[in-house]
């Protein structure tokens, strides 16, 4: 009865266990001491329960994992203590899957009669764990990266702070020095200790007496602190002559003002250099003004002097002219020295004429310098002008044994200033005669395209290349040229006259062979 009772109870228990086992999510396997499967609660892989039962448990484990399993079973059977292991295998769909297996001994009468394996698919847990680990790893990497970045920034900041030529000071809202650089200490003549103890006012107290205007400095500083959101820029002047530019701006954290950054720049050298430059510019400007003034004074003097010289020359020349006219009427009977008197008057007249020409040149130069060269243009014939000029130079050319040969192709008409062009032709002709060494002077007046071209060619001494431009310059240059009589203003004035006519004048020359002056004037001008 007892036995029946017991076996019934046993059966019921077994039945309950089987039920439990079959509804459990885990795989429950019972293995005998011989390693063969006694029970399995569900099919595994492609095998039916019947195919599994009675076979060695190791048959269903990947060869790699067999030792792990055997080890655990051995522990359970020989030592009667539970064991567990985790292995990587495949699930029913041949996908990699993690399994956790717990093995417990079934002991009856102190003897291990079987082992119960509970195997659970822990792939999901494993994956989560892995992800978690990965996340933790990457978080750690990120923290390391940010820390390194921050350190790099800090070191850059520190290096910058020290490398900058400006003194820098960061003050918090309680006016404590939070950061500063060594330059700041140098500039303000303060020590690190002063900065450590720096609370409101102490730094200011240490430095304020260095300034030229302490009162002004204090007022300005308080005004800046009174507007914590605003930037500032001002200049500080020191008793020792130094000048600082002072800038400040609010230091903000998340948009909130937490302090103020001050920077100080020593601009003493720069300011001094600027002042020096201004002074030099001033001097230069003054020197230029002085030079302009003296040039103006010279030109004014020139204008006045030439005008004043010219005034008495006019009646002098006219009287001489009259005397000559009257003297010509004298006969030797009337006045035995009539001939000598006539010659003397001629000489005097020539010299006075030279003086008149010189003063006229000076007047022209002062007129040109003042920009008052006025042209009175009228229709005229350049050939006629040249022929008249030849006539006028006849006496002069004969005296020098020089022939003037004129080449033309008929009239060359244009609208020009007759008197002024006459001056140009006179100048070129008298130069050609003077430097022509007694050889013929060729003059041509031709119409070439739309221009009237006058060429005066001598076969005389020629002009050195370095003097070819100089001869057209004003007296300060021309005076250095040898072999030129008078003031050498003729060519300068001639060029100005030609240029005023929108023409050009040029010279070709060879030393010892002669010179050719070419004047080109536009014809179509009304």
């Amino acid at each position: 009865m007892m036995q029946t009772e017991t076996s019934r109870t046993l059966r019921e228990t077994e039945s309950k266990w089987r039920q439990l086992a079959e509804t459990a999510p885990d795989i429950i396997i019972s293995i005998g001491p011989d390693g063969r499967i006694l029970f399995i609660n569900r099919t595994i892989a492609a095998f039916s329960k019947d195919e599994v039962i009675g076979r060695l448990a190791t048959d269903f484990v990947q060869p790699d994992h067999i030792p792990t399993m055997l080890n655990a079973l051995d522990k359970v059977f020989t030592k009667a203590i539970p064991a567990e292991y985790e292995i990587l295998s495949h699930d029913s769909k041949k996908q990699p899957a993690w399994y956790s297996t717990k093995i417990a001994p079934v002991i009856i009468n102190g003897k291990v009669i079987s082992a119960t394996l509970i195997t659970r698919d822990i792939t999901e847990r494993k994956l989560m764990q892995e992800e978690l680990e990965q996340a933790r790893d990457s978080l750690e990497i990120k923290i390391q990266e940010r820390t390194a970045e921050l350190q790099s920034w800090l070191s850059k900041l520190e290096a910058t702070l020290e490398a900058t030529a400006d003194g820098i000071l960061v003050i918090d809202l309680q006016r404590r020095a939070m950061t500063y650089n060594q330059k700041l200490l140098q500039m303000w003549n303060v020590k690190d200790e002063d900065m450590v103890n720096y609370v409101s006012g102490t730094l200011i107290a240490a430095i304020k007496d260095q300034l030229k205007d302490t009162e002004d400095f204090l007022i300005k500083t308080e005004k800046i602190y009174a507007h914590p959101n605003e930037k500032s820029a001002d200049t500080l002047e020191f008793k020792d002559g130094r000048i600082f530019e002072r800038y400040s701006q609010p230091q903000k954290l998340h948009g909130v003002v937490v302090g103020r950054v001050w920077s100080f720049r020593d601009v003493t050298k720069q300011r001094n250099a600027e002042a020096e430059r201004d002074r030099l510019l001033m001097n230069e400007h003054q020197a230029r003004l002085d030079a302009e003034k003296s040039v103006r004074a010279r030109d004014e003097f020139l204008a006045i002097a030439s005008h004043e010289l010219r005034t008495p020359l006019t009646p002098l020349k006219m009287y001489l002219d009259w005397f000559k006219r009257e003297a010509r009427k004298m006969t030797v009977e009337m006045f035995p020295k009539a001939q000598v008197l006539m010659q003397a008057l001629d000489h005097t007249d020539r010299e006075v004429s030279k003086l008149v020409n010189l003063t006229d040149d000076l007047l022209d130069v002062s007129r040109i310098t003042a920009g008052r060269l006025v042209l009175n243009k009228e229709p005229m014939d350049l050939v006629e002008l040249v022929l008249q000029a030849q006539e006028r130079h006849l006496e002069n050319s004969k005296r020098r044994n020089c022939t003037i040969i004129i080449t033309t192709n008929g009239p060359v008409k244009g609208v020009w200033d007759f008197n002024r062009l006459e001056q140009v032709v006179n100048c070129l002709l008298s130069n050609a005669i003077k430097y022509g060494a007694g050889k013929p002077v060729q003059v041509s007046v031709l119409k070439e395209n739309d221009r009237a071209v006058l060429r005066v060619e001598d076969q005389g001494i020629g002009i050195a290349p370095e003097d070819r431009e100089k001869i057209f310059e004003r007296f300060e240059r021309a005076s250095s040229i040898k072999n030129f009589d008078g003031l050498g203003l003729g060519l300068f004035i001639s060029r100005e006259i030609v240029v005023a006519h929108v023409g050009t004048v040029s010279v070709d020359s060879e030393i010892g062979k002669g010179s050719t002056f070419t004047v080109s004037l536009p014809i179509e001008e009304k």
């Binding site: 005034t311 020349k317 008197n419």
Partner: protein
Amino acid sequence: MNELSSEDVKYLHSKHIHPIMVIEDDDDIRELMKAMLEAEGYYPITATNGKEGLALLSQIPKPCMILLDMMMPVMDGWTFSEEAKKNSLYKSIPLLAVTAFADQITSKENFYGVLKKPIRIDILLDIVRHHCPSEKLQ
């Protein structure tokens, strides 16, 4: 100021002499012209500026020619020429501009001619001879 006596004026009118008027502010030049023209048998009447010249014109017989300096105080040669040409009595008198700078005469309309100072006496007398009677030639 030019001293022209009432006798002089009477003489000119009675003899029907047409004088040469010389208007020139430079004393030396004015005196030279006067002396030279007189020596050549002409009748020069002088004035030191345009205004004086205009005043004289109303007193004397119509001049045969006027030698006119351009740059003068009080009234310059340009103004004088404008005034003279406005008056129907005087507009036919030949005006000879006498100037140190010929280029100062920008409009030659009012002038019979322009002479540059220093004047060439020969040229001046050539011109004058065509317009004025001379005692020498009579």
